[in-house]
Symmetry: C2
Amino acid sequence: MIAIGEASRLSGVSIETIRYYEREGIISKAVRTASGRRAYSDTEISELRFIKRCRDLGFSIQDAVALRNLADAPSDACETVERLGSKHLSDVQAKLAELRKLEKALVELVANCAKGQSDCPMLDALKAR
Amino acid sequence: MIAIGEASRLSGVSIETIRYYEREGIISKAVRTASGRRAYSDTEISELRFIKRCRDLGFSIQDAVALRNLADAPSDACETVERLGSKHLSDVQAKLAELRKLEKALVELVANCAKGQSDCPMLDALKAR
DNA sequence: GCTTGCTTCTGTAGTGACTACAGGATGCAT
DNA sequence: ATGCATCCTGTAGTCACTACAGAAGCAAGC
């Protein structure tokens, strides 16, 4: 039986977040020891790790839960998984494109900022539409 | 005098968000007409646009406010502006690097998902640590 | 068996930056 | 006079946590 602190260390999910996941029904309620402390099994650690990995990949909690449910589901899971994955991939690619534009704009902005002048070209750039 | 709907259209900031900005003291309180409606001047539209542009560039509200205050400030503004800009640029670059890794992982994940199989390689990939 | 210090418990409130109502008043064109 | 768009205030919800407060349990050393 694994206590919550150890579960946190093993899964990489913080203690507060594990409790939050339980509260919200994202993971099932952990069994309690005689004194009321949460006790986890290896299976539950794996579940936490699965959720963590999905979150690290930028999936929403909702998607993470859907993927976890599919993980124990029957045949046609793979198609759904691929759909969620592709959708998320295109979201990520859109965000990448946006950030690249952003980076370019910021590089220009900062480059224009010649120090020591009384008027600031970067502020002017922000003011301009 | 410009009403809030028009101000929203002119600045690209939603009506709800303009009211939120006022409530939070991010912009100063708009003058009211006899009947209590908000009325904006060109200056205030510019202010909204300035904040909007900062937000679009990914600056926090806090940074946006700091930049706006600098925009009316004396000489040494430029240095501060450059500091904020550079800091933000490196944040953006870090996020870009993260997203690129993410994209790579997702591409692999989705590519591995050969449809129609009864076990799903993508789910296996998510399960593996 | 007592103290010390770490871990855990529940419950609540806060974060950032909005967004979404509900329920009512106002303005304008027909 | 009627209808519809626009606006008002105030409150609550979103997402995914994070941060307490205050109390209780546990393990080790003295």
